[in-house]
Symmetry: C2
Subunit: 228 residues, 2 copies
């Protein structure tokens, strides 16, 4: 499903250039749950953003379901994100002026789903992350872990084919984090969802099917082709 | 050092009222390291903000070093925060248009410290959180864990008497998180710094002198007077 070849990413130029990803190769089969681990600053979010079509590599190729994503223009990339991808951001990126429920309903609006069904599906997803009693709060009326769960619900509600999760349990206590993993596992079982989950938590990495380690922009500890 | 009596906090009014803290009692001796734990949404950040003079209780009292903080006006509260308190926010709150180094220098500027010394102390603190090679980056050029470390350096550089840390290792890998705890332990040893650290990480709670558990706005698992 995901095929990355000789992927590199450099910020800045000349003396100020910072190379963050270094000619990475990576293959992820459909339906796999892959944990992406590594030290702070090693390039995990950068790699996830490129896979999620939120950023472009400096060089190398990225194919999603056989399609060369670097060949797409911005409009086509945005369409791919809407129909195919779900993204849970490390800093959540909720819309501040609408409620948790309205935030979760938003991806379904772009998909043209009628109001009653949008509301029902969003309420159901918020119940699954245990936020029913906070769904009419706006983000600044929510705790850190509550905002994280809204971001999780929003990413899952549109039933994506590929879910990209950047440290989705980072702000959660153990029990709530486990409830989130249970939710992801249920959706995975229902739909053979492919999941790439960046995490610092070894128990989350152990929960995944396979673990990939990143260090200084290189994959260091997985099978020779990094085929998972 | 910290004395909280019958502290309550309620947001909203009437039907929309949400009671987040419920008549809490808490005593923290100077020089102690206290871990504050509890489920997502239990009131940890709210309690920390009140202790840090960033918010006011709905009822009850809070004394810091014998002084009734609820009796202070906004200006006096701001002065207390500058001279006495260091705060590491759950969402960092770095100034986006200046570099990491400039962010860390900022508290010293308010203290009237000359430029050369501000720079030297900020560079030293950034080195202790392993960010020397990123100190001229702005926050949007930093990873999640790098931003967290800038927030940590900024809170420590002014040598506060009371450090309030809201999940300071949440975005960090195990090794970097351990380096942060080592830094806090060194400063604590140098100056008998009092630390209240909100955390979901049991190894961080174990590192502290004492652990307090919060559940639905009440302290549930510590000695009868919650005296630590
Ligand atoms: N402005 C507000 N209006 C209404 N409710 C609020 C407001 N701010 C916070 N809350 C509620 O207060 C409760 C406690 O929030 P707090 O941020 O203290 O939790 P927390 O223990 O820090 O959680 P986490 O571990 O998720 O960070 C939450 O249930 C939240 O929804
Ligand atoms: N716009 C930018 N300009 C320069 N360097 C950048 C920029 N954005 C990110 N970086 C650098 O890229 C590196 C990788 O960042 P990335 O966010 O991918 O790390 P990460 O593995 O997700 O870290 P964390 O675990 O701390 O979230 C970091 O060292 C960061 O300083
Ligand atoms: Mg990251
Ligand atoms: Mg919190």
């Amino acid at each position: 499903l995901v095929q990355v070849r000789r992927l590199s990413k450099t910020y800045g130029e000349g003396e100020a250039a910072v190379t963050v990803l270094r000619a990475l190769d990576l293959d992820i089969d459909a339906g796999r749950i892959v944990a992406l681990c590594g030290p702070s600053g090693s390039g995990k979010s950068t790699l996830l953003n490129i896979i999620g079509c939120l950023d472009r590599p400096t060089s190398g190729t990225y194919h999603l379901a056989g399609q060369d994503m670097s060949a797409l223009d911005r409009t086509a990339q945005a369409a791919a994100r809407l129909t195919y991808l779900g993204f849970i951001f490390q800093s959540f990126h909720l819309l501040p002026d609408i409620t948790a429920l309205e935030n979760v309903m938003l991806p379904l609006q772009y998909a043209g789903i009628p109001l009653a069904e949008r509301r029902a599906r969003a309420e159901s997803m918020l119940a699954r992350v245990e936020l029913t009693d906070r769904m009419h709060h706006r983000p600044n009326q929510l705790s850190g872990g509550q905002k994280q769960r809204v971001a999780i619900a929003r990413a899952c509600v549109s039933r994506p084919r590929l879910l990209l999760a950047d440290e989705p349990t980072g702000a959660l206590d153990t029990r709530t984090g486990r409830a989130v993993l249970d939710l992801l596992e249920e959706i995975h079982a229902e739909e053979a969802l492919t999941i790439v989950i960046v995490t610092h938590d070894n128990s989350v990495a152990a929960w995944a099917h396979q673990r990939i380690d990143l260090r200084d922009g290189r994959i260091v500890s997985s099978p020779p082709d990094a085929h998972v």
